[in-house]
C-alpha cells in the first residue's frame, strides 16, 4: 500500500490485454450518438453560406416556417450568445455577416430529415458579397479587411493570450531565450527558409453529431460525439449563463475524434432549436461535406526559420516565425500557436532563440485542435529545415541532428532543464535510423533500384511534444466496489478509440492486485455521474488519469483495510491482501473477503459496520506555470514524449510518383502499458501522418469556396497505401511522475512523418520540398525545377 506510482507491481501492465470495448464494437451493439433516437425527436438541418465573406442583407424564413412538420426556424438575429474557447468570438449562427464558406446562417428543426432539408431549401438569404481575405500573410497587411472588426471588445483568457485589436491577430506568443544577435554573430552559416502547409480535415469516420434537449426550467441534456464532456458543459453554461447543475452532458461511443471533437460545436445551436421547439430533443449529424466547412479543420501554417550554425555544426541561434491561419474564428488556433511556440525548435538544444508566433484570422473555415496540436505542421518545416541546413553545411543529417539534440542539462526554449528522466530522444533517433539502415542502401535495395529504375532514398526526422494544457489541469477517478468484489471505475476521459478504458483497466487491476476480469471501466461518459476531467486531449490522459486511478485504488484499499482491521481485530499495518481477501500477515487463515466488505460488513448476529467501498483519486499536474507574456519563460510541460521516424521511399525520377517502402518509428513512452494498444495508436498515427504528408489538403478557389469537401477529392489513405513494412519501436525511460512510469503517446506518432518522408524523397532525387502535402506532382515539379503550384488557392473551377 505504500508503493510509489512508478513502482507499482505490474502483472497486467506491460502485457497484451485485449481491449475491453471491442466486443460491443465488433457486434454492432456499441451505441454512438449517431445511433440514438428519442421519442419526439426532431431533426435539424442548417442553411450554409456559399460565400467566404459577405454581408447578410436579409433572410426570409417564412416559407420554411409554414412548411408542415417544421417546429423551429432560427437565424442569428434572435440569438444573443457568443461562444469561444479562449477568445469569445463566435456567434451560434452568423449575425449580419458571414466569415467563411460553409458558415451556418439559419437552421431548422423538423419532424424528419426530409422535411428539414426541404425547409432549409426554402430559406432565402440575400447577401452582399465582399472580397475575402484568404491568405494569412495578406491578412497581416494594414490594408486588409478585418475579419473581426470588434476584436477589441471580445472576452478572452488573459493569462495566456494577447489579441491585437484593430488587426486580424487574435494572439501573438513570444519566446525569448539567450541573446539572438550574439548567437547569429557567432554563426559560420546562417540559413533561412520558409515552409508551408495547408488546412486539412480530421476525417473521423463518424462525423460530428449531437442531440440536445432543452426542457422547461432550463433542464438541458446533451448527447454528443464530443471528446471533452466537462469542457463542453463549461463552455455551454458560460454562453447561456446557466448553472452547471442544470446541464448534463452524455457521451456515448465516439467514432473517432482526433481533436476535432474537442471544445464545443453543434450543441448550442441544437439547444436553441430545442428550446424554440418546446423542449423536444433535436438531432443533427453533419454530412461528410458539412464536416469540412460547417465544422472546423486544422490550421494552415507558414513557418519561417532562420538558423545560425557554428563551425562545429552546433546551432548557435534560431529565429522562428510562425504565421498560423486561424480561419474565421480563434477557437483552439490561439492555443495551437502558444503550444507550438514553446516547442518550436524541436528536441534540440538552442542556446539563443527568438519565436514570434502569430494567430491570424482569415475568411476560411476555422482551425481547431488536431492530433499533434500544431506539431505536425511546424515539424514539417523544422525537420525539413534541419535536412536542408545539414546539406548546406555539408554534414550528415543524422550527425547534425545528434549533435544538436537535447540532453540532460540542456534547457528548453522556456528554460526548463532536461534531466535523465525526461526521456531519451537520442535513443529514439538511433533506433529509427537503424531500423531503416540509414545512410546506405542494402544490396537488396541496390538490386531493386536497378531492376525498377526507381530511386530509393532514406530519411529521418525527430519529434517531441508535451501536453498543451492549463498549468493546473486536473482530473479525478472514482472506483466503486460491487457486492461480489468486482469494481467499476468512473473517469471522464472519453474513449475515442485510443484504448483508455483498456489501459485504465490494467492499471487499476494491478494496483488492486485483482485480475482484469474483476475491473470494469465504464466506457460512456456522463457529467452528472462521472468525476471531473478537463478534456480528452493533449496526450495527457494516461498520465493524469492513470495517477488519479492509482490514487482511487489506494483510497478504496485504505477503506477496505480499515474495515477489515475492525473485523479481524488487527491494525491495518498487520494486514495484507490478495485478489480475494484481506488477511493478517502472520496468520493468513484469519481473513475477510473483499466481497464481504464491499457494501458494508455484516456480523453473524446481523450488526453491520463500514459501508460501500468507494475510492476517490485526484491528480493535478504538478509544478507547471503560465508563461511570461514577453519572454515565454516558464514551465508549461507535464512531460515530454520524444520520438523519431525513419522512412524508406522509392521514387520514379521521371514522374515524381513514389511509394513508401518502410516506415520505422520509435517513441520514448516511459513504460508500455499495453503493447497491442500502443502499437495500434502508433501505427494509426503514423498512417494518418502519411496521409497528411502525401495527399490531404483543403483546396479553395480564389473566392474562398472550398473545392474538395468530400472523400472523393480529399483522399485519405486506404489499406493499399500502407508502406510495405511498418515497424514500431518502444523506448522506456520511466517518467518519474507517470503511472507505472508511463507517459502519453496519443498524438506523437503523427508528428514528423511528413518531413521524414520528404527527407527520403529528397535523398532519392534531390527534390527540395518545402510545401506539404507532397503530391506526386509536387515531387515532379521539384525534380524538374518547375514552379510549384499555388497550393491552397487554385484558380480552377470546381467541376472538371
Amino acid at each position: 500500500m505504500s508503493e510509489s506510482n512508478t513502482l507499482s507491481v505490474a502483472t497486467h501492465v506491460g502485457d497484451d490485454v485485449q481491449r475491453v470495448d471491442d466486443t460491443a464494437k465488433l457486434t454492432g451493439g456499441a451505441m454512438y450518438a449517431s445511433d440514438l433516437v428519442f421519442a419526439g425527436m426532431l431533426h435539424a438541418q442548417v442553411k450554409k453560406s456559399p460565400h467566404a465573406r459577405a454581408k447578410i442583407v436579409a433572410i426570409n424564413t417564412s416559407k420554411a416556417e409554414n412548411l408542415p412538420g417544421v417546429h423551429a426556424v432560427l437565424t442569428g438575429k434572435e440569438l444573443d450568445y457568443r461562444i469561444g474557447l479562449y477568445v469569445v468570438d463566435k456567434d451560434i449562427l452568423a449575425k449580419g455577416a458571414v466569415r467563411h464558406f460553409g458558415e451556418a446562417v439559419a437552421a431548422v428543426a423538423a419532424e424528419s430529415l426530409d422535411i428539414a432539408s426541404r425547409a432549409v431549401d426554402l430559406i432565402d438569404v440575400e447577401y452582399e458579397v465582399l472580397p475575402p481575405v484568404l491568405s494569412q500573410l495578406d491578412a497581416l497587411d494594414e490594408s486588409s479587411p478585418l475579419v473581426h472588426p470588434d476584436l477589441g471588445s471580445y472576452d478572452y483568457v488573459k493569462a495566456s493570450f494577447s489579441p491585437q485589436p484593430g488587426t486580424n491577430i487574435p494572439n501573438i506568443t513570444k519566446i525569448r531565450k539567450g541573446d539572438i544577435d550574439a548567437g547569429f554573430a557567432e554563426a559560420k552559416w546562417i540559413i533561412e527558409r520558409e515552409y508551408t502547409n495547408p488546412s486539412v480535415q480530421h476525417v473521423p469516420l463518424e462525423t460530428h453529431v449531437a442531440i440536445v434537449e432543452w426542457k422547461a426550467a432550463d433542464e438541458v441534456t446533451i448527447w454528443s460525439s464530443a471528446q471533452s464532456p466537462f469542457t463542453l458543459r463549461d463552455l455551454f453554461c458560460r454562453a447561456f449563463k446557466l448553472p452547471y447543475n442544470k446541464v448534463r452532458v452524455i457521451i456515448p461511443h465516439v467514432g473517432g475524434a482526433f481533436g476535432g471533437k474537442a471544445g464545443i460545436h453543434l450543441e448550442p445551436l441544437l439547444a436553441c432549436l430545442s428550446r424554440k421547439a418546446g423542449g423536444r430533443p433535436v438531432k443533427f449529424q453533419a454530412t461528410r461535406e458539412e464536416e469540412f466547412s460547417l465544422l472546423p479543420c486544422r490550421s494552415a501554417l507558414t513557418y519561417r526559420i532562420k538558423t545560425g550554425v557554428g563551425a562545429d555544426g552546433r546551432i548557435t541561434a534560431q529565429k522562428l516565425l510562425m504565421y498560423w491561419d486561424a480561419g474565421a474564428y480563434a477557437d483552439y488556433a490561439v492555443n495551437v500557436t502558444r503550444a507550438s511556440a514553446y516547442s518550436a525548435a524541436g528536441p534540440y538544444d538552442i542556446p539563443n532563440a527568438w519565436v514570434d508566433a502569430y494567430t491570424i484570422y482569415t475568411n476560411k473555415p476555422w482551425g481547431t485542435a488536431y492530433r499533434g496540436f500544431g506539431h505536425v505542421e511546424f515539424f514539417w518545416g523544422l525537420e525539413r529545415h534541419m535536412e536542408l541546413v545539414a546539406q548546406v553545411i555539408g554534414m550528415d543529417p543524422l550527425e547534425f541532428r545528434k549533435k544538436n539534440l537535447l540532453k540532460p542539462g540542456s534547457t528548453t526554449l522556456t528554460g526548463e532543464r532536461i534531466n535523465e528522466h525526461t526521456g531519451n530522444p537520442l535513443k529514439c533517433l538511433e533506433a529509427a535510423a537503424k531500423a531503416i539502415n540509414y545512410g546506405r542502401l542494402t544490396p537488396e535495395e541496390e538490386e531493386r533500384q536497378a531492376r525498377t529504375g526507381r530511386r530509393i532514398g532514406k530519411g529521418i526526422a525527430t519529434l517531441h511534444k508535451a501536453p498543451a494544457m492549463p498549468s493546473f489541469t486536473t482530473t479525478a477517478a472514482v472506483i466503486k466496489m460491487n457486492s461480489d468484489g468486482s469494481v467499476v471505475v468512473n473517469i471522464a476521459l472519453t474513449e475515442i478509440g485510443q484504448g483508455t478504458a483498456t489501459v485504465v483497466t490494467q492499471m487499476a487491476a494491478d494496483r488492486l492486485r485483482f485480475p482484469v476480469s474483476r475491473v470494469k471501466v465504464a466506457v460512456e461518459r456522463d457529467t452528472d455521474k462521472d468525476p471531473f476531467d478537463w478534456q480528452t486531449v493533449a496526450s495527457k490522459g494516461l498520465l493524469l488519469t492513470g495517477n488519479a486511478v492509482i490514487a482511487a485504488c489506494d483510497d478504496l484499499l485504505r477503506q477496505a483495510y480499515s474495515d477489515a482491521a475492525q473485523v479481524l481485530r488487527a491494525q491495518t499495518a498487520d494486514l495484507d491482501h490478495d485478489a480475494e481477501r484481506i488477511f493478517v500477515k502472520q496468520r493468513p487463515e484469519e481473513s475477510v473477503t473483499f466481497a464481504a466488505l464491499s457494501i458494508g460488513y455484516v456480523y453473524p448476529n446481523g450488526n453491520g459496520i463500514g459501508g460501500p467501498l468507494i475510492g476517490l483519486g485526484r491528480y493535478t499536474a504538478q509544478g507547471l506555470t503560465s508563461l511570461d507574456k514577453e519572454t515565454g519563460q516558464g514551465l508549461p510541460a507535464l512531460d515530454w514524449t520524444y520520438g523519431a521516424h525513419g522512412v524508406i521511399a522509392e521514387v520514379d525520377p521521371d514522374t515524381g510518383e513514389y511509394k513508401v517502402i518502410k516506415i520505422a518509428s520509435a517513441f520514448d513512452v516511459g513504460k508500455v502499458i499495453n503493447p497491442g494498444t500502443m502499437r495500434g495508436q502508433c501505427i494509426g498515427g503514423m498512417i494518418q501522418g502519411l496521409g497528411t504528408a502525401e495527399c490531404e489538403s483543403y483546396i479553395y478557389d480564389d473566392q474562398g469556396r472550398l473545392l474538395n469537401p468530400s472523400l472523393t477529392d480529399n483522399k485519405i489513405l486506404t489499406a493499399k497505401d500502407l508502406p510495405e513494412e511498418i515497424e514500431c519501436i518502444a523506448v522506456e525511460t520511466p517518467q518519474l511522475d507517470g503511472p507505472f512510469g508511463a507517459r502519453g503517446v496519443g498524438e506523437h506518432p503523427m508528428i514528423s512523418v511528413a518531413p521524414a518522408l520528404a527527407n527520403a524523397i529528397h535523398d532519392a532525387t534531390g527534390a527540395e520540398l518545402t510545401h506539404m502535402p507532397v503530391r506526386f506532382e509536387d515531387v515532379w515539379r521539384a525534380i524538374h525545377n518547375k514552379q510549384p503550384i499555388d497550393t491552397w488557392v487554385t484558380k480552377a473551377p470546381a467541376d472538371s
Binding site: 426530409d114 486506404t718 489499406a719 497505401d721 503530391r775 506526386f776 506532382e777 487554385t794 480552377a796 472538371s800
Partner: protein, 271 residues
C-alpha cells in the same frame, strides 16, 4: 437522399421502354446506382422516377461468341466482367481497366454500361473499350440503333442517348480479341481514386490504338498507328488531340507530361 422520387423495377423491355417514353426527362435509369445515387444526393440530378433495369430478364447476360465477340448486358457488373474467364482470356485489357474502378464492394454493383453512359471524361472502362472498337447498341420503344463507342460521347457527362433510350448492350467485336494491351492510370493514392489521366494502348497484329481518359471533355481514341511508328510519332498524335485542364486534382502541365510518359511506357509494353 433528400430528393423525393418514385421507384419502379420493370421486368420486361416493353414495360421499361413504356415507362421511359411516358416520363421523358423526369425518368432516370438505375443500373448499379454508383453514379446516379451520388448525383441525386448532391442535387446534380433530380429525377421524378428512378427505373431499376436490373430486373429485366437477360439484362445481366455477358456472352461471347466467335462471330459476335463479347456482348455486355446492362446489368453486367464490373466484377462480373472481372470474374469472367472469357474476358480474362480474350480481352485481358478490359479486366485491367475494370480492376482500377473504385473498390471491391462498389464493383459488385457498378455496371460496365453505367460507367460508359455516365460519360465521365475519366471513366475507366472507356479507353480500353475505345481501343477494342466497342459498339454501343441502343434501344427504345422506337427500335434499335447502334453507334461505335467513339461516336457515343458528346461532352462531359453527355452522350448521343435520347431520353427514351437505353443502352441495351456494348459489343466488343471479335476482331480485336487477343489484342496486346496495357492500361495506366494516374491517381493521387494507391487506393481507389478517379483517374487524373489514363492511357490504354493496344496492338493487334501491328495496328496500334491509343485511348486516353481525363484529357478532354470526352474519352479520346487515336487510330491508324502501327507498331512500327516511333514512340515520338505516337506521342505527337496524342498531343494533337488532348485538351487537358488544370483543376483541383492536378495541373494541365502534369496531365500533359503524364500522358506522354504513359503513352511511351504502354507502347513499349505492347510492342
Amino acid at each position: 437522399m433528400n430528393d423525393i422520387f418514385k421507384y419502379r423495377a420493370p421486368t420486361s423491355r416493353a414495360e421499361l421502354f413504356g415507362l421511359l417514353a411516358a416520363h421523358g426527362e423526369g425518368a432516370k435509369i438505375l443500373a448499379g446506382g454508383t453514379d446516379l445515387l451520388v448525383d441525386i444526393r448532391s442535387g446534380l440530378v433530380r429525377p421524378e422516377l428512378v427505373i431499376n433495369l436490373k430486373k429485366v430478364e437477360d439484362f445481366s447476360d455477358l456472352t461471347w461468341s466467335q462471330s459476335e465477340g463479347l456482348t455486355i448486358g446492362p446489368a453486367t457488373t464490373v466484377n462480373d466482367l472481372l470474374h469472367d474467364a472469357k474476358v480474362r482470356d480474350c480481352y485481358p485489357l478490359l479486366a485491367d481497366c475494370a480492376l482500377t474502378i473504385a473498390s471491391h464492394q462498389l464493383r459488385n454493383r457498378a455496371t460496365v454500361i453505367g460507367n460508359i453512359v455516365h460519360a465521365s471524361p475519366g471513366a475507366d472502362m472507356a479507353p480500353g473499350l475505345l481501343c477494342l472498337g466497342a459498339r454501343v447498341q441502343i434501344a427504345s420503344q422506337r427500335g434499335r440503333r447502334e453507334v461505335p463507342l467513339k461516336n457515343f460521347f458528346t461532352g462531359v457527362k453527355r452522350t448521343v442517348l435520347r431520353h427514351d433510350e437505353i443502352v441495351e448492350a456494348i459489343i466488343v467485336p471479335p476482331g480485336t480479341a487477343w489484342s496486346r494491351g496495357s492500361y495506366r492510370k494516374l491517381k493521387r493514392i494507391d487506393g481507389h481514386d478517379l483517374a487524373l489521366v489514363s492511357v490504354a494502348v493496344t496492338n493487334k497484329d501491328g495496328a496500334v490504338r491509343v485511348g486516353i481518359g481525363s484529357a478532354a471533355p470526352i474519352p479520346l481514341l487515336i487510330e491508324g498507328l502501327t507498331d512500327q511508328d516511333p514512340a515520338d510519332t505516337v506521342v505527337a498524335a496524342a498531343r494533337d488531340v488532348i485538351r487537358p485542364i488544370s483543376d483541383l486534382r492536378c495541373s494541365k502541365e502534369y496531365r500533359e507530361y503524364m500522358i506522354e510518359v504513359f503513352v511511351r511506357r504502354s507502347l513499349e509494353e505492347v510492342r
